[in-house]
Symmetry: C2
Subunit: 202 residues, 2 copies
DNA sequence: CATGAAACTTGACGGCGTCAAGTTTTGATG
DNA sequence: CATCAAAACTTGACGCCGTCAAGTTTCATG
């Protein structure tokens, strides 16, 4: 018996990822209010002060979780707009469906990603992963940018609309529990985006 | 000397509104994280457990603050879209300006109004006051509802867009500190709404 | 004036984030 | 292999938090 499962008294071995995993589990089970450093530590089988050696306080843990969360978020967006037709309008619809679906499936992670303070974390955290999600949006938005128009404007229009709508949806403004996406008002609302300049034929 | 300033040992007299006021002050000074029952009690010059007799815990206090906050929010919207031209498009622009301005002026109150969980409180809380704000939106949106179209769709399109944009703006996505509203990208982004059906001439 | 309800206080509990100090383990250096 | 400094983790404490239980004061009603 060598040291297969390294679990000595004072060395967990893989504590940092274990804490992140525990935090995500807590989020999925009980939402943003259920996330605490001490509970993560307990789940990882470690003392309450151990996380301090790996994260800069609770904010640091959230930041680490946000990075992981952005990965999942990006995957949702990519999967959504890769599936189905390649028509620009259809891709845009799919992107929005993916955005909303992520919010429905992982409201706790959404809350961490987009921070206690609105979308602040989008700016502060999530370097590569945020960029990844944004690049997907940019890619989908590109055909709707008219010549000479600032693409940032179009991207912001899309982002603002689907983000605001997702929050409304999660809040139960369209019924609790929320209706299935395809029966819901999503398609009607994002139809507004189809009044963007017609997709350039590329 | 009758009992002019009623401040006996065990009867504050006007504790409930005093606590709400203290809570709002805390929000304005330090944002949502600065709000606590104990600090409100201290500011009102009362023991830490006193608020329990007037609110159902912290959630109850937030609910009461949200009602007050909705009043202010409604006022922002009304003032914004009453000032200036009466052209439907101009009124819509003004409404959005007012929405964003409220977020910039009172981010803490916005956080309470729209809850820890997205816009949940919009549904749960804020009876009359919420309705009031929504009716302003409805009024502004009305000219853009095409015959036979569901007005809820148009209202949701407007609401989603401006709400999502406000959160982006507050997050500093357009620079920190945020640029003045009129120089900023607000007008460009909500130009999307001008592609709604042309205002009906009434 | 008596009495019961309402308003408020005091004290305690457990959970939280965080800090300081101590113990164990690791891994590099000689 | 021995040494030793740094890294990993523990224990204990502090203050703040929301909440509950029990006691005291004030008010209003009869």
């Amino acid at each position: 018996m060598t040291q297969e499962n390294v679990k000595s008294r004072h060395h967990h071995g893989d504590l940092k990822p274990a804490l992140i995993k525990a935090g995500i589990d807590l989020l999925e089970e009980g939402g943003i209010k259920a996330l605490s450093l001490r509970k993560c530590a307990a789940r990882a089988g470690v003392s309450h002060a151990a996380p301090a050696h790996h994260f800069d306080g609770l904010a640091g843990l959230k930041q680490a979780i946000a990075e992981e969360g952005f990965r999942l978020f990006s995957q949702y967006l990519k999967d959504a707009c890769d599936s189905g037709h390649q028509d620009p309008r259809e891709r845009l619809r799919s992107l929005c469906r993916g955005y909303l679906q992520f919010g429905l499936d992982h409201p706790g992670i959404l809350a961490v990603i987009f921070g206690d303070q609105g979308l602040a974390s989008l700016v502060q955290f999530g370097g590569k992963e945020k960029a990844d999600a944004y690049l997907t949006l940019r890619d989908v938005a590109a055909p709707f940018v008219a010549p000479g128009q600032d693409r940032l404007v179009v991207e912001t229009q899309i982002w603002s609309l689907i983000h605001g709508f997702t929050l409304l949806y999660l809040a139960g403004e369209f019924g609790s529990p929320p209706p299935p996406i395809d029966e819901g008002p999503l398609m009607q609302v994002i139809a507004l985006l189809e009044r963007l300049d017609p997709p350039s034929c590329s």
